[in-house]
C-alpha cells in the first residue's frame, strides 16, 4: 500500500470512533491506558480490550468474507459451541490435546462446508441456510456434551484461551495471525477480487469465468474454521465447554463488527482489518460500560444506538449503490 493510502486509511471514521470510545474510557477511568508487566505477561485495560475482543474479531474475519459475497453466516455462535464441546469431550475422554484441537477445527470446517453446500448447490438464501445450523447447532453441541458443562484441565487447551506468547495473551496472538494471514491471502492474490466479483453479481462473475460455486464454498468453510478457532479460545478461557452459552449471540456481534468496519451488506467491497477494528470498537464499548459502573444491560442499548448511527451515516451511500444497481438492471 502506498503511503497516501495509509494516511487516508487512518482518517477513516472507524478509527475516529475507536479513538473516541477509548478517550471516553480514559476519562471515566484514568488508568485505562496503563500497561504493566506481571508474571511474564502484559496486563492492563487496553490489553484486556484486545484479549476479550479476540473471539469476536476472529469471527468477524470469517464473517467479512461471507458478507463480501452478499451472504451472512448466522451459525457461527452455534459452531463455536460445537467446536468447544468436541474439544472438551475428546480431551476428557483421554485424547491428546492436538487431536482434540484438530478435531474441533475439522468439525468447524465441516459445519462451514455444510452451510456452503446449502448456499451454493441448493441455492438457499444464506440467512436461511445458516439458520438451520444456528437452530440445530446448539442441540448438537448439547448432544456432544450430553447436556452438561464439560470441564477440563488440559494445559494445551487452557493455554489457547489464557496463555501468553512473549507476554502477549494467546487470543490476541491467534487473532492477529489470522487477520494478517487472511488479509495477505486476500489482497496479495486475486482471491479478494474474485470474492468481490461474486458479491457484486454472482451471475456476471460466473459468466466472467470465475467458479463462483467453489469460491462460495471456500468462504463459508473459512467462516466455519474461524468460528471453531474462536470456540476453542472461549472454551480454553473458561476451562470448559458450555453448549448453552458458548458463543451465544456472538454471531450478531460479529455481523455488527463487519458492518461497523464498513463492509457493505449488499456484497462487494470488504476489508478484513477494518472488521477487526469494528470488533475492537464493540469490545472497547463493553469494557467502558463495565468499568464505568453501569449495569451490563446498558451494553445492548448502546450497541443498538451505534448500529442506528452507522445505518444513518451509511444510508446515502447505500441508496446510491442501489440506484446504480437499479440503473444497471434497467440498461441490461
Amino acid at each position: 500500500m502506498r503511503r497516501g493510502n495509509w494516511r487516508a486509511a487512518l482518517l477513516r471514521p472507524q478509527f475516529a470512533a475507536l479513538a473516541a470510545v477509548l478517550l471516553i474510557n480514559w476519562l471515566l477511568f484514568p488508568g485505562f491506558f496503563d500497561i504493566t508487566w506481571q508474571e511474564g505477561r502484559l496486563f492492563g485495560s487496553v490489553i484486556d480490550v484486545l484479549n476479550r475482543g479476540a473471539p469476536v474479531a476472529i469471527l468477524a474475519i470469517g464473517m467479512t468474507a461471507v458478507i463480501a459475497t452478499k451472504g451472512v453466516d448466522l451459525s457461527v455462535g452455534a459452531v463455536m459451541a460445537i467446536a468447544g464441546a468436541v474439544a472438551a469431550v475428546l480431551v476428557t475422554g483421554g485424547a491428546s490435546a492436538l487431536v482434540a484441537v484438530a478435531a474441533a477445527l475439522a468439525v468447524g470446517v465441516l459445519c462451514g462446508l455444510w452451510n456452503g453446500v446449502l448456499v451454493t448447490y441448493l441455492e438457499i438464501q444464506p440467512i436461511i441456510a445458516t439458520l438451520v445450523l444456528m437452530v440445530a447447532g446448539r442441540g448438537l453441541a448439547q448432544l456432544v456434551t450430553e447436556g452438561s458443562i464439560v470441564t477440563f484441565s488440559d494445559p494445551v487447551l487452557i493455554f489457547i484461551g489464557t496463555g501468553s506468547l512473549l507476554g502477549v495473551p494467546m487470543p490476541i496472538v491467534i487473532a492477529a495471525v489470522l487477520a494478517i494471514v487472511a488479509t495477505l491471502i486476500v489482497r496479495k492474490t486475486a482471491l479478494g477480487l474474485l470474492i468481490e466479483a461474486v458479491g457484486v453479481n454472482r451471475s456476471a462473475a460466473r459468466f466472467a469465468g470465475i467458479s463462483s460455486g467453489l469460491l462460495l464454498l471456500l468462504v463459508y468453510t473459512f467462516a466455519g474454521f474461524c468460528a471453531a478457532t474462536s470456540g476453542l479460545i472461549v472454551a480454553g478461557d473458561i476451562r470448559g465447554a458450555d453448549a448453552n452459552n458458548a458463543g451465544l449471540w456472538l454471531e450478531l456481534d460479529a455481523i455488527l463488527a463487519v458492518v461497523i468496519g464498513g463492509t457493505s451488506l449488499l456484497g462487494g467491497r470488504f476489508s478484513i482489518p477494518m472488521s477487526v477494528v469494528g470488533a475492537l470498537i464493540i469490545q472497547a464499548m463493553n469494557t467502558g460500560i463495565l468499568i464505568s459502573g453501569f449495569s451490563p444491560e446498558f451494553n445492548l442499548v448502546v450497541k443498538s444506538g451505534v448500529i442506528i448511527l452507522i445505518l444513518v451515516l451509511q444510508a446515502p451511500m447505500v441508496a446510491q449503490a442501489l440506484r446504480k444497481r437499479f440503473m444497471e438492471r434497467i440498461s441490461q
Partner: protein, 325 residues
C-alpha cells in the same frame, strides 16, 4: 390440484403423518387435552409467527420479535405492579409502544434503504436492553384479571381445555388470513414481496405498506408479550429468548417462500403446531432430552427448505432464480 397450494398440502400431510406416528406410539396423545395444550403452550409463538409471516411474504425478516415480547412482558409488569394501572390500560399502552417501535423500524428500513435484518437486529438489542434497564429481575404480576383469565377456559369434549390465550391465538390467525387474502393491504404485501420495483410501478404505496408491515409484526409481538405475561404471570427481560428463530422456522415449515411474494398464514399455523408436536412428543417419550427439540426443528427446517426447492423447480419449467442476486 392448484399448484400454488402444494407446499401447504405437503406441510399438512407431514403434520398428519407425524401426529399419526406419535399416536401409534403413544395412544394418549390423541386427546383434546393434548390439542388444547398445543394451543395454550404455543399461543405466544403463534401470534408472533403471524406477524412474521407478513414480514417474510413481503421479502423481509424481523429479528426483533422475541425481544419485543420480552420488553412487553416487563413493561406490562412495571405498569401493573409498580404504577398500579389496570391491566387493560397497561395492555393498551404496551401495544401502542410496540406498534410505534415497529413503525420506526419499518420507516428506517424503507427510508434508509438498509436490509431489514440489520434494522431489526438493532431493534432487538434496543428492546432487550430497554427491558433489562426497566427491570433486570423478574417481576411477578398479581392481579384479579390475570387470575380470572388464566382460570377461564372452554371445556372441550374429552376433557381438553381451550384457554383464553389459545382462543386469542386462533382469533389472530383467523384475522391474519382475512388480512392477507381478502384485503388490499394483503395484496400489497404479496406484491411487495414479488418485486419492490414492479410493486411501486403498479402503484403500491411502498413506504406506507412497508411501515404498516413492521408495525403489524411488532404489534403482534406485543400481543404475544401480553399473552406470554398471562401465561407466566410475570414480566422478565430475558423471556422469549430466541423466539424469533422459532417463528421464522414455523413460517418456513408452513410453506412460505423466504424470497417473499408467496406464502400462507394457515401454513404458519401448521408450522407452529408441528413444533408443538415435537415438544409434546419429547415430553411423552421421557427418555429424550430437551435439546432434541432444537435438532429436530433444525432438521425439519432443512427438510422444508429442500422441499420448497424441489416443488418450485418442478413447478417452473424454466429455471427460476431462487436466490435473488
Amino acid at each position: 390440484m392448484n399448484r400454488a397450494l402444494r407446499p401447504l398440502v405437503a406441510t399438512t400431510a407431514i403434520f398428519a403423518l407425524a401426529y399419526l406416528a406419535a399416536i401409534i406410539q403413544f395412544p394418549a396423545m390423541l386427546s383434546t387435552r393434548v390439542l388444547g395444550n398445543f394451543l395454550t403452550d404455543n399461543a405466544f409463538l403463534g401470534i408472533a409467527a403471524v406477524g412474521m409471516t407478513f414480514v417474510i411474504i413481503s421479502g423481509g425478516i424481523d429479528l426483533s420479535v422475541g425481544a419485543v415480547i420480552g420488553f412487553t412482558t416487563v413493561l406490562n409488569a412495571v405498569l401493573i405492579m409498580w404504577l398500579g394501572l389496570h391491566p387493560l390500560f397497561a395492555f393498551v399502552i404496551s401495544l401502542s409502544v410496540a406498534a410505534a417501535f415497529g413503525a420506526v423500524m419499518g420507516a428506517a428500513i424503507h427510508y434508509l434503504k438498509v436490509p431489514s435484518f440489520i434494522v431489526t437486529l438493532a431493534g432487538m438489542f434496543l428492546a432487550r436492553g430497554g427491558a433489562s434497564v426497566l427491570s433486570p429481575d423478574s417481576i411477578g404480576i398479581k392481579h384479579e384479571l390475570y387470575t380470572t383469565i388464566s382460570k377461564s377456559y372452554i371445556l372441550l369434549p374429552g376433557g381438553g381445555r381451550l384457554t383464553v390465550i389459545g382462543m386469542i391465538m386462533l382469533a389472530v390467525f383467523a384475522l391474519g388470513m382475512v388480512l392477507a387474502h381478502r384485503t388490499r393491504f394483503g395484496s400489497y404485501v404479496y406484491a411487495l414481496g414479488g418485486s419492490e420495483v414492479s410493486a411501486a410501478l403498479m402503484g403500491v404505496p411502498v413506504a406506507r405498506t412497508t411501515i404498516l408491515i413492521y408495525t403489524l409484526s411488532a404489534t403482534l409481538a406485543g400481543l404475544a408479550g401480553i399473552v406470554f405475561s398471562l401465561y407466566t404471570s410475570a414480566g422478565y427481560s430475558l423471556s422469549a429468548l430466541g423466539v424469533e428463530l422459532d417463528a421464522i422456522a414455523a413460517v418456513v415449515i408452513g410453506g412460505t417462500l423466504l424470497t417473499g411474494g408467496y406464502g400462507f398464514i394457515a401454513g404458519t399455523f401448521i408450522g407452529v403446531m408441528l413444533q408443538g408436536l415435537v415438544q409434546t412428543y419429547i415430553v411423552f417419550d421421557g427418555s429424550l432430552s430437551s435439546w432434541w427439540t432444537k435438532i429436530v426443528i433444525g432438521g425439519l427446517l432443512f427438510l422444508f427448505i429442500l422441499l420448497q426447492r424441489l416443488v418450485f423447480s418442478a413447478a417452473a419449467p424454466r429455471r427460476k432464480v431462487f436466490w435473488k442476486t
